[in-house]
Amino acid sequence: MEYYVIIGCGAAGMAAAERLRRLKPDASIVMVSKDEHSHSRCMLHKYLGGERDVEGLAFTDEDFFEKNHIYWSRGQAVKRVDTAAKKVILEDGELVYDKLLIASGAVYSVPPIPNFRTADNVYGFRDLSDAVKIRKAVEEKNAKHVFIVGSGLVGLDVAYALLEQGVKVTIAEMADRILPLQTDATSAGAYQELFEKAGASFRLGIGASDSKVNDKNEITHVILANGEEIPCDFVVAAAGVRPCIDFLKDSGLEMERSLKVNEYLRTSDPDVYAAGDVTGLSGIWPNAMDQGRKAAMNMAGMPVAYTDSFCIKNTINFFGLAMLSAGDIEPKDDSCQVYTKESRSEYKKAIVKDGIVTGIQLQGDISGSGFWQHLIKNKIDISGLLKEKNIFHISYADFYGLDSTGEYIYSGQC
């Protein structure tokens, strides 16, 4: 009998477990997670906004563990990993493994602003437990005003959910615009307007520098760098995450800011693999799942390399305004061509360098736009096509092809 252990039940862990079971029908597979419920982090805001219950956050079938004959030790923190003895040490017990997958994800970081790390009313937004705490804070304290640090997708998800419940939010962002990783000034402006209409207030290009605490160790005011004092019932830190590797510090596994893996997602120990946020390779869901599946294949003795290093991509959907953003936001140098198209309902921007698309932003209608990622990732030369048509008329049809099994492929231009 082979023993497989997977730490973490997020996107990477669950995808790995499913693939591993398919490849190894008779092996023992044990999963261990700090989370009590396997849930989709990308949908936590739907729980916070009261749109879904805990069950509604599941991204696999209800009977996932029974169906796949996986023993799941839930609500269990891993204390450490003993790679020499090939054991995972838990709070109360240990698990032996032949092959181990570490998919422990990431933890949110709280910015080093006075009182932020010690006050009792500063929350992150990473796990269901965080969403539960925020919901409780809203309900029990009858919160009227929340201060959010960071206007990335996480910060705005929290803002959206709180606004839906009539809570006023103020969001501080160090960059000069909201969603700075995905948008330029124009596309950011469209979202900012929608959020402001819904009651959000932004402070851009400025950070918090201090705070005031009451006798219950709760932050009552956040003070910005320009001296402005913003009253709040609680604070949400949405200013980034870091790989969850603290429990590995004595494991001997090679790590820096993240757990190091080679192209086969193997760590410095031949029997230990890693996938998802803990590797620091990519912060988005599809890549985490892909890494999980590929790590499982490598663990099962089917070598497959993970080569998808392109991870600057995302989709956004707030107030029914959808957006796709991939690659560069602005041209890197003067040799780039920038194409834009703007109308009442949409904004498009493409950046091309030497015939290769390096960045795309589509706001409004994003149907049929999956080919852009393929063009950017694979550096496909479109200079021939650009002579024939408007860049925004290019579609997969320009690369249409079929293989013998009837699947689509990218052929030369047709």
Binding site: A11, A15, S40, R41, C42, M43, K46, G56, A58, F59, T60, D61, W285, P286, M289, D290, R293, K313, N314, T315, N317, G320, L321, A322, L324, A326, D365, I366, S367, G368, S369, G370, F371, Q373, H374, E388, S395, Y396, A397, D398, Y400, L402, T405, G406, E407, Y408, Y410, Q413, C414
Partner: protein
Amino acid sequence: MKRIMIDASKCDGCKNCALACMDSHRRDGKEGVETLDFNSPMTVARNEIVCGVNGGYLPMFCRHCTEPACANSCMSGALQKDEETGHVKYDEAKCGSCFMCVMNCPYGIPKISEDRTKIIKCDFCNDRPEGPACVLACPKQAIYVEEV
């Protein structure tokens, strides 16, 4: 699994497949392509025929891929490859409207609903015994079902 195979050289762009698809997925209780309401944003085909650069028509139909990029990127579990039929099924109730599938399908197949809350994608007409409506409607056998 069964797949809708495509012989693009036979397609003459009549779009009977698109009409049949709209008719088979309508929710207004009516039947027959002649009663389709083209003013309704709900009347959407899951397939599409686009013009090729050198003339000719290119049928765009969900392949229900062996490694489906849409389902592989789904963060809600709404899109899943059915192990028995091999078809990629979409559960509207589970969908989180994140549109990762739209970004990740390299062939641009999943569409977004008019109200931006759901996606619209081929369901192989729920594997009904007579086969998908589009295939039955094609007068040229440019699309046909085959076991692959």
